[in-house]
């Protein structure tokens, strides 16, 4: 069974049609990229999957269940985690605390008023794992708001991973990053996909990143799906080249 099935979703903002009748299917373990020029509707598409926005029409099925009208936290509980195009973290808390909250909530402790020594130890150990995976171990006790843009993004991705998601939605994880940081994040995403078999949907505008990572690519332009296929097929697709690659190259 497909992990995620988006069926003919549209989003209208007044007279603007931001997403126009788009469908997408993601298989377990797949890394799917969504690309398209600015304003194509990529983020809006994500917002509907994660429940940040309600779709104007269409349906979202996750693991066989229609989740179209569930509120966001419930979709998280079903296993959908996301990051945002503009980093969303807890700036005045340390990296460790940011991750700790994510781990605790994911473990179902959000209403707990007390923690046994054992549980406390387990939570802390898991936080250390995440710190190391994200390359954040040496900054663990710094406030996230004081870190570089790249480290803030890594923190956000690690928070999403702390939820042990069944589907990870990443909205332009390399936006605004230098080459080195872009490389590191790309390596991390590759690892999550190849080694840890995470199912990921990735929004990107940086073509280099996408063509190396993705199993399949969906191209959006002006709210419509322009093409879908393997990186090779997309690279060879003339409509895409005209509408997007051409523009990007120009």
């Amino acid at each position: 069974m497909s992990l995620l099935r988006v069926e003919n979703v549209s989003k209208h903002f007044g007279s603007l049609i931001a997403v126009d009748n788009v469908s997408m299917t993601v298989e377990p373990g797949e890394l799917r990229a969504v690309i398209g020029p600015n304003g194509a509707g990529k983020t809006t598409f994500f917002n509907m999957i994660s429940g940040f926005l309600n779709q104007t029409s269409g349906k979202i099925v996750f693991d066989g269940e229609d989740i179209s009208s569930l509120w966001p936290a419930r979709r998280v509980w079903r296993g959908i985690a996301r990051t945002f195009q503009i980093t969303e973290v807890f700036p005045e808390l340390s990296v460790r605390e940011n991750l700790r909250i994510a781990v605790e909530v994911a473990s179902g402790y959000r209403l707990h008023l007390w923690q046994s020594r054992n549980i406390d130890g387990e939570v802390k150990a898991r936080v250390v794992d995440l710190l190391e995976m994200g390359g954040l171990a040496d900054k663990a006790d710094r406030l996230v708001g004081e870190l570089s843009h790249g480290d803030q993004r890594s923190t956000e991705i690690m928070m999403a991973l702390a939820l042990k998601p069944r589907l990870l939605l990443l909205d332009e994880p390399t936006a605004g990053m230098g080459d080195q940081e872009t490389y590191e994040i790309t390596q991390l995403i590759r690892k999550l996909h190849r080694d840890q078999k995470h199912s990921i949907v990735l929004i990107e505008h940086d073509m280099r990143v996408v063509f190396h990572l993705a199993d399949r690519i969906m191209v959006l332009a002006e709210g419509k799906m322009l093409a879908e296929g393997t990186p090779k097929e997309i690279a060879a697709n003339e409509t895409v080249q005209a509408a997007y690659l051409g523009k990007a190259a120009a």
Partner: protein
């Protein structure tokens, strides 16, 4: 190192509070002033549970403060001559009201939340103001007083012995503040910090934000009604001003003045507030405008409050 500092700070605070009735006299104060500091500190720390540690501004906490106060006064006057029972009734009344109103407003944010809390607060003000024959209306509820506490083996005469009353209030204060500190250090408490820091991130970690804000509001109002009950006991009197909007404003001022990001901040704010109120009001009727001015200056120049200034000093 940091936990050591925090422990030292805690010990100093509790020693100061334990000895307050003695050193306040050296400074020209009196015991009731100490009790007043505790009551305002409890109210402001309870407000700060919501404001400083959940990031939600309520401008109507006097409603629950006042309900606690009237709950205590009316229980003693009309129902039963017992201080503990009266406090219990005050807390229950205030918390039930908070549960219902909180549930109605928990979807609002920022200024809208603050404005609606004021509106609900004023509703309770007008009820106590108008419902003359039960609440005493504008004149307040008189003809009752706090009742000595009977522990079986001994009797604490909180009515005639202000020092005994101070220490009873301090014990209640300690329990209340201890519970709040405990909650804030729990996983639940950390979800509140998460909401304060970034509601969107909190929601997309799977925290049902509205429910948690509702719970925080409830806890905050529970302790504010307790403070209100103690306030009524302190004065042996209650009138509608206990739940008017400017009382809500006082709590916000105290919390912000002391520093709403720190646990003890509002306590310092309360001390400054009570002392200023006592001294300035003996000179001028309009002392509120002095305090208002002071408050505006503090917020403008030191958004982290008095404790924030001291912290910065000690760091540099």
């Amino acid at each position: 190192m940091e936990t050591l500092n925090r422990q030292t700070a805690n010990i100093i605070v509790w020693l100061l509070l334990l000895a307050m009735p003695f050193w306040i006299k050296a400074l020209g104060g009196y015991t009731e002033l100490c009790t007043q500091v505790l009551v305002y500190a409890l109210a402001a720390m309870a407000l700060n549970f919501l404001l400083g540690f959940t990031g939600v501004l309520s401008f109507g906490h006097a409603a629950y403060f006042g309900l606690g106060a009237y709950g205590v006064a009316m229980t003693i006057k009309y129902l039963v001559a017992s201080t503990p029972l009266a406090l219990l009734v005050g807390i229950v009344v205030g918390t039930i009201a908070a549960a219902i109103i909180g549930w109605l407003i928990v979807n609002l944010r920022g200024v809208y939340f603050a404005m609606v809390t004021i509106a609900f607060g004023q509703v309770f003000y007008f009820i106590t103001f108008r419902w003359n024959n039960v609440t005493g209306g504008d004149d307040g509820l008189t003809g009752w007083s706090r009742v000595p506490i009977d522990l079986g083996f001994t009797r604490i005469d909180i009515l005639h012995n202000p020092t005994a009353f101070y220490y009873v209030v301090l014990a209640i204060f300690a329990v209340a503040v201890g519970i709040m500190a405990f909650l804030l250090r729990s996983p639940f408490g950390r979800t509140l910090l998460a909401i304060r820091e970034n509601e969107r991130r909190a929601r997309f970690l799977g925290i049902p934000v509205e429910r948690h804000i509702w719970l925080s509001f409830l806890i905050s109002c529970l302790f504010v009604s307790l403070a209100g009950g103690l306030y009524a006991l302190l004065n042996n009197f209650v009138d509608p001003r206990a739940l008017r909007w400017d009382m809500s404003g006082n709590f916000v001022i105290i919390a912000v003045l002391g520093g709403m990001r720190s646990f003890w901040g509002p306590m310092i704010g309360a001390a400054i507030f009570v002392v200023l109120q006592d001294y300035v009001s003996s000179m001028t009727e309009n002392w509120m405008s002095f305090l208002g001015l002071f408050f505006v200056l503090i917020v403008l120049f030191f958004p982290r409050g008095v404790l924030g200034i001291l912290r910065r000093k000690s760091l540099s």
